[in-house]
Symmetry: C2
Subunit: 355 residues, 2 copies
């Protein structure tokens, strides 16, 4: 493994159990039956323990939309033409997309990370230039990219994490944009979890039955042609992955190294999380899975991660839309932990709690 990546992974430490216990005591002293705010309590605890500081507050939140193009699109796997990737990036920059509306409602900033769109964007606020290449090759015919490019996409995600940590953001969400990107995500799921393509391939943005069968065939073909090594997730990424998937894997690793929670969105972001967790299983404790996507196969990946998603709202848009809501819920958990009154402060009688 590359030296920088090994260093990064070695800097990811186990969570501090002491802070976890203190956070639990604080939660149990608040004016509510113990545990009655359920997963919100878990999120509050998780935030402070990842930050390594019982008093940590959510300061600035940002959702990163990792954008890239995919050579596999020429196999007819998507309902939308490739140009839509760049067109949607402009939509993000103008504030008109789903993620923009959700980010405004949740108080998060949106940053588009161009890690591999087949288009050059002028420098504009709201875009982070991290282009590794102009999209991937067609994985149905050979590797999606070189090992060097795959590592570079991961390094770019790490770069994003460090850059925004320095701007005082302390809660990250991972999102994606890339026409065709559910196809490599399915291939990554299949390669890493060992499940066959038909169990992890869904309709993406909305293809019909015939196109779905074609897509499953393409995923199977990509796996057969490239034979990615499941024990080497960089190999999986370069052969059947995507540049935004690598970027998201890097963001997850960078967040964990910095003690910043990363809320993972749906299908594509989860593929990035799988790559990161394969590289460093300890990263599992630093991520939050925002929602169960309506896309078939997502469930398989969540189980492999051992992650219970927060929401199940039948969403399947990507862009970080589920993750932005997840960040807002984590912020709410932090507020509950710190801002509620204790029984003593409020002079409320404590009940006899069941064990």
């Amino acid at each position: 493994m590359e030296e920088w990546l090994e260093h990064l992974i070695n800097s990811i430490t186990p969570l501090d159990e002491g802070i976890l216990d203190m956070a639990q005591s604080r939660l149990d002293s608040l004016t509510k039956p113990r545990g009655s705010l359920g997963m919100l309590e878990e999120l509050g605890k998780r935030f402070v323990v990842i930050r390594g500081d019982l008093g940590a507050r959510v300061e600035k939140k940002v959702v990163f939309v990792f954008a890239a193009d995919h050579g596999v699109i020429e196999e007819g796997v998507s309902a939308f033409p490739k140009e839509v990737t760049a067109q949607m990036v402009y939509n993000f920059l103008r504030g008109g997309a789903g993620i923009n509306v959700i980010a405004r409602h949740t108080g998060a900033d949106v940053v588009v990370v161009d890690v591999g769109v087949d288009h050059f964007f002028r420098p504009t606020p709201g875009i982070f230039h991290a282009k590794v290449r102009m999209g991937t090759e067609n994985m149905a015919k050979g590797p999606a990219m070189t090992r060097e490019d795959a590592l570079e996409s991961i390094r770019m995600g790490v770069e994003v994490a460090f850059t925004y940590a320095a701007k005082d953001y302390n809660l990250f969400a991972a999102g994606d944009m890339g026409i065709g990107n559910t196809t490599p995500s399915s291939a990554v799921f299949s390669a890493i979890t060992g499940k066959p393509p038909e169990e992890v391939t869904g309709r993406g943005t909305g293809i019909d039955e015939e196109a779905l069968q074609r897509k499953i065939k393409v995923v199977r073909q990509a796996l057969e042609v490239n034979r990615p090594d499941p024990s080497d997730s960089v190999d999986v990424l370069c052969k059947v992955g995507g540049l935004e998937i690598g970027g998201i894997a890097g963001l997850v690793l960078g967040g964990a190294a910095l003690g910043i929670p990363v809320v993972v969105d749906g299908f594509i972001s989860t593929a990035g999380a799988l790559i990161a967790v394969s590289l460093c299983p300890r990263v599992r404790d630093y991520i939050v899975c925002a929602h169960r996507s309506a896309a078939l196969g997502h469930e398989v990946a969540l189980s492999w991660l051992g992650c219970r998603p927060l929401l199940n709202l039948d969403m399947r848009l990507g862009e970080g839309t589920g993750a932005a809501i997840g960040m807002w819920l984590m912020e709410l958990g932090e507020r509950i932990l710190h801002d509620m009154a204790t029984f003593e402060e409020a002079q409320v009688a404590e009940g006899e709690e069941a064990p």
Copy 2:
């Protein structure tokens, strides 16, 4: 039935299908695959159709915490002493409770409706005085209250709806506070759905197995002693209900009459919704069930209502905590409907959609 109640119920109209269709067309023109924002799209549609105005925006949101005491507490059904009801009302007024933290995070106001607490509160901002009586009688020994009192509690809920509609609130959430109130809620569920007490009685704020068995016995006894008539939900309410349950039923009816969506919280609020829907089945279209409470038996009531809850975060606090998050999600749905760019505006190519 009382004349005022009949008038109110007759003023609740079916939803306007024309607005629903227009909202759907608008959603399908937005820059996202069709339906890909799942339940958020449904919430946006539901908001404008209930308001009867395609352009309606969520203006001011309020969560009403209906508070009351319960005579059945003397049977030892709760882990907390009765004084906690009034103590928690003071906690709400000072802003230290769970609902206060969640309301601040969601941009909602909190109003405590004293419909039957065994304590007099001085006039203070944040409290709506609607006291019908100083709590109920012990339903294990006879009716919880008279039919007149039950009707008065419903009327008070209607009064709350009309008062806050006049203050330009156009989205309501129903919450509750009342030590012992899961016991009458279970009795209401059993009486209306026909399910036996052991299937609809849970641990409330956290009682042990022995206390749970006692609670089930108390619910059974209350139903045997009082024999509420399931076809007359006012009879159910007066015999085995509670004042906050009646108030919430009134809020739901009032909201429907005014074209204001009411987001229903967990166990106790759902009991109020059951009473309202029994009185006027059309009300079903005007409510949103916020979450599946961790409390046993809630599922039974949600199925009876035919309502899919938005969230499943293991919450069981009450106070309107789940409903406040639900209101915020409905507001987000409204923002998506109105604020996202269309394919045409954003110059994004439309895909071939699957049917």
